[in-house]
Symmetry: D2
Subunit: 422 residues, 4 copies
């Protein structure tokens, strides 16, 4: 696929944006775009173990997304397959020389954002803006395209080692990386890379690796009490709404830590069914973050205690599930060296920094850390994309040249990096 | 219409149950059933002033209900008319002799309850159970039928005075009576009656009037804050969820009153949009009740203070709207006398009580009180209906003979009561 | 002792008012006033088992009260004895004929109220007002005097059966009756009476028995966390203040009961030591009440759950102790008959009611209930005393003739009541 | 005074430790130690304007402290004077050459800590430990001594310019500096220094200046509601305890800031008077801190909103007073240069750092900032003192040689610093 075809591919993904775990058409299109290449594709439980995942989309939403994907022109059988099996794809190509196993994380999901249809918004002006309430407002359409493009470039197999592209679902909510780890997809990786476009960096600038960030745990709590008529027999009720309210207040009172920057949020509460019914059910979602991986566990433990205590106080039962997670990132200098050196080869790249401390939480960090813990190395490259609007906003857009810039950086690293221990 | 036709009519309403302010098909059917009678019908703003009502169904729900009503066979034009104009009908018939103006409240809405389809549930066995998630689980189908049947009986105009049937929407939530009062529908009424089937009373028993009850105010609160990324700039957010949680806790701490029985409930909270966003919006519904009409106002005032304080504390704006209300009931002995005397004329009625203190809140009380405050009289008659399941449950059912019993009680009162000041 | 001596005795108690469990001088004076009578006195653990009582006065307060009692002229050795052994006295006199065992509860403690020293306050005008911050603002000085006076009258032993006077400490806080029950003091009682002056009833009026009332449980909660510097290491703290705040809010949200009138109060919170220290300790006191003895237990169980949950949420330990309690009262008609008949013999008594439903909580009810549960009977007589100020206020006072009225009612009942099963 | 006299002086202050605003004997002793020197002393409103200060000790505490100070041997008249006028002393000495005005802050108050009396605690072993519940557990006894010692050294007036020693009360709670600023004491200062012993730094080490720190605001909130009997008329109460509980929870939910490190603490709540009384009064103390002087104002504004909202919600009145405050510190390089150079002259000083970022809040920063804002310069020197226990603990102690080290650093700076604009 040449650059124009890749841009076409990206625009199709963009127009048919699909949110976390609903990337049915996206996965089908990726799969189809790789047809004919010397690539092994693993899907389903081989790519991601979704069995412990909570908060997956409900049947009605899945059905609606299947219909939409098919209506948009994706292969109906494959759409249904991915809806059944899960949307992660692990695409592996083996070079013709011995060498390390590379993992490259390219995430594929969109956000529940309604895209701008103003004429000054380029996708709208060019007619490929999404109109279904989802939007690639974080550039994952370009990442998926980089993965596809890179495999096309490497189809000559003229490189040492092996390259595994992690087409990861559900980066939003940091929910998709752990299932790929749980499926063993990263177990044999020696060098893990992630790549991301940065709308707030000018096109032509590159950062070798993001570092730091915040480890996070997202959680989903359900309180189950007992309904009763609020006037007739209020004493017969067990009030799940009050348990959730108490938990929300108490969660926000988890103290600051002197040894790390932390965050707490209760994102949503949905409780009760009617004005005159003692609320029997409440759902609460929240998250904790810290610039330290042990402290985020401590925050999670405190959150669990608070939820337990709130449920006990109101005599309701509860479930507490971690629905997403990520870690901090400590990239390896050796990998940054490779990425910087590769970037220097592209004359479009005019500004290169080795690394930068960034806020935010990306579960690519889990993949990189998993590889590091097994003796490997990793880093997370940022490619400037000059967006007019901020990430996650309805006017996010990207300089499409960043796609080929990203592919180029990765390709040169893979073809030319030393094959020995870094 | 004979008794069989009325039962047929009731079953049609039952099968096509419609909840508060969505009684489009129900109103169309009532209207049609009165065709050809010497009855004046007022609808729209003449029957109910909905302009101050909050929490009306949204456009999507209205559209869906229109479709369903038309699909069920109701007149499409009239369905659309009632969807536009409101579903209250004030049907007036004038007797051929001078006399008092009677008002009779017959409510017409159903509940958001899924009806049983078990074979031991009579409507299911006979094939007229509702299958759309709404259910006449409080017998309003029978009340609407009584109103229709009574007008047919009185079509001979052989009675003194005037009879106005208040086909009232939205009794559930106590939301429909006040708009009819606001429209002036009860301003000329001298004698206000309400009638209700009682599932927990055996068929054949009658209570002249319910009395007491709890005055109530239902309220709808919206908190509007400001969203922000919970990790990026938590300080930029204004947290509506926490305002709602604080309000919920504080509302429940409104003290007991030594001088009346009271109730407080926070029925629902819906807050926030995503786990990593500081929640910008929260909606809370609640209610206060008291066995005293001044104390319910005091409770409402305290609730308002709490909501104001919670909004102020979290620097969010808010709206507070009373979405439903009712009053306590003090029926008039003179009217009870009439209802008891009339009941004694029906040999099917084997047990008669003058009145009984009951819990619960019905906004017919507002109509009766309105009339009483203008010098009139009123009472609220209960007719035993032997339901196997409790009111508001999926197995509520009624002995359909209670319909003709109710019509008979009312008819005899109207035809025979003294016309002078009671 | 003649009436004047009794009045003198009452005034001495009044001037040296002592609050709950500090009635050292009061007990010493009662004991001394009974010297020479054919009365058996039980004190210490034989009269009241204080071992499970929580919240007893601290050593410093005890020492101060000992000094004050001695300074006021009470016998130093006996003051120290009662400070050590407890202040309950069970005084028994046996009649010369066989008959039932009577128990008569006369409470002896004062309130932490500063007495008026205005000239229109009779005790001040006559120079026997208390000046130590405690005050007999509920008339227990007169009750103790009735107990003493009755024993003097009965010293001739010309009555059937046995009379046991329960000089009970700590009625305020409903804390003294249970220890007397626990000591077995009421186990052999057949007929339990309590007597109380009523400031809001005119002198000359009597009510045979108070009835109803609210069962209550008072509780004392301590939360123990861990202090830490609020800026240096906030995460090292375990916040007892927040646990107490959460508990306070949640306690107030215990729902109304449809089947009884209830009350909840959190009376005090004392938490923390300094503005920049994460609070390690919090103390909370509260109470629940209900017009039903089972529901008060249910309320207590809910309070305990809330405290447990709050402590768990904040990872602090806690203790929960019931510090006071009482029950509702159902007096026996047979005993009311006796009290009414006796009252009719005193010409100063011009108005007699059999019984009246009253609010309030007195732990004499526990004694009466204990006797009833073992097959006995009981009632609680109210004697009008025409107080200018309300009970528990600084201007409470009583018509001192109510003392001899009360003694007379009791004396006649004991001398003349049938001795068989009532 | 030679070094031994100074150590003797410090030990006398140590043994008679006095907490914030109660430094009556301490002030009297400082004043006396300066007798005969060419020093002008300002006290009372000339040294500190206490009129806006909230939370000053109550009359009973003041009386007790007067007695204790006199009993310890301080001059009775001067003790009473300082109790009346305030305990700040501004001591000025003018050199015999023209030059800058130096301000030197030496704080004088102790902490409410009970000092160790274990034999391994040096003050206990040497018999000068405090036994009155207050303790110089932060070394202010040594600071006051440095101030006295420095004035003795400079009594020869052989230095350019003027030196003003700020003997400041109430550094604990950061309450004493602002009143000295308000009195104008720092208005003419060109170079403001503070000096502090550091128990966690080894003797022989010096840091030219502390920098950073946290700006802070301490606050005192009082809620005033209305008492009522919790069972009799709960509805008549206005519950201050619940307002305080709500405020406590909400204060802890003030969000983290992305742009600064922050702290929140609710240090104490004291509410209510009895278990069966609706609590009419509650007192809450708290603090906010930030590593940014604008953000601490924002935190304070949010705290005020929360308190206002909580009071409104429960219909109680409130007062909110800032009881203490401090700022962050940006020391001037020019002053650090002087302090470092001076330190290098003392052979006992073996380790010198220019500056260090420290947590904690000292209101000397307000003085330095005040001078900086008027065109002057300043810094805050730390002198190692090798304490076995941490600051604010019962085993804090200091190497007494740090006193002469500190005096020497200051003396050399004053005698030798350039007199022109730094």
């Amino acid at each position: 696929m040449d650059d124009n075809s890749l841009i076409e591919f990206r625009r199709t993904l963009h127009q048919n944006a699909e949110t976390a775990f609903l990337e049915f058409g996206t996965a089908a299109r990726i799969e189809k775009a790789l047809e004919g290449l010397p690539v092994t594709m693993q899907t389903g439980a081989d790519a991601a173990d979704l069995s412990p995942v909570v908060g997956l989309p409900d049947a009605q939403t899945v059905a609606k997304s299947i219909d939409a994907a098919i209506a948009s022109g994706a292969d109906p059988d494959r759409v249904r397959y991915f809806a059944e099996a899960g949307t992660a794809i692990l695409a592996t190509i083996v070079g013709d020389k011995p060498g390390p196993v590379w993992g490259i994380r390219t995430d594929i999901d969109a956000l529940p954002v309604t895209e701008s249809d103003e004429p000054d918004h380029v996708p709208a002006a060019l007619g490929f803006n999404a109109t279904n309430g989802a939007m690639h407002a974080c550039g994952h359409d370009s990442h998926a395209t980089m993965g596809v493009g890179l495999l096309h470039r490497l189809a000559d197999r003229d490189f040492p080692g092996t390259v595994k592209i992690f087409f990861q679902p559900a980066e939003e909510g940091v929910r998709g990386a752990q299932p790929m780890i749980d499926a063993g997809a990263a177990d044999d990786v020696d060098r893990m890379l992630a790549i991301h476009v940065a709308g707030d960096m000018a096109f032509g600038s590159v950062i070798g690796s993001f570092e730091g960030g915040m480890a996070t745990r997202k959680f989903l709590v359900e309180f189950h009490g007992r309904a009763s008529h609020a006037a007739g027999t209020p004493e017969a009720g067990r009030n799940a709404l009050l348990a959730a309210s108490m938990a929300a207040s108490a969660l926000m009172s988890i103290p600051r830590f002197s040894s790390a920057d932390t965050r707490i949020n209760v994102g949503t509460i949905n409780a009760g069914t009617g004005v005159n019914i003692v609320p029997a059910r409440a759902t609460l979602t929240g998250e904790v973050r810290a610039t330290d991986d042990e402290i985020v566990e401590e925050l999670l433990a405190r959150a669990i205690r608070i939820v337990e205590g709130s449920a006990h106080a109101y005599d309701v039962t509860h479930t507490f599930a971690v629905s997403g997670q990520s870690a901090t990132l400590t990239p390896d200098d050796s990998v940054i060296d490779l990425l910087v050196a590769s970037s220097e080869q592209d004359e479009r790249i005019t500004s290169i920094e080795r690394s930068e401390m960034l806020a935010g939480s990306d579960d690519a960090n889990l993949l990189i850390r998993h590889v590091q813990q097994r003796g490997g190395v990793g880093a997370y490259c940022m490619v400037g994309a000059s967006s007019p609007g901020p990430h996650h906003s309805s006017t996010f857009d990207l300089d499409e040249r960043s796609i080929s810039v990203g592919i180029g950086i990765l390709e040169r690293v893979i073809r030319t990096a030393p094959t020995g221990k870094l």
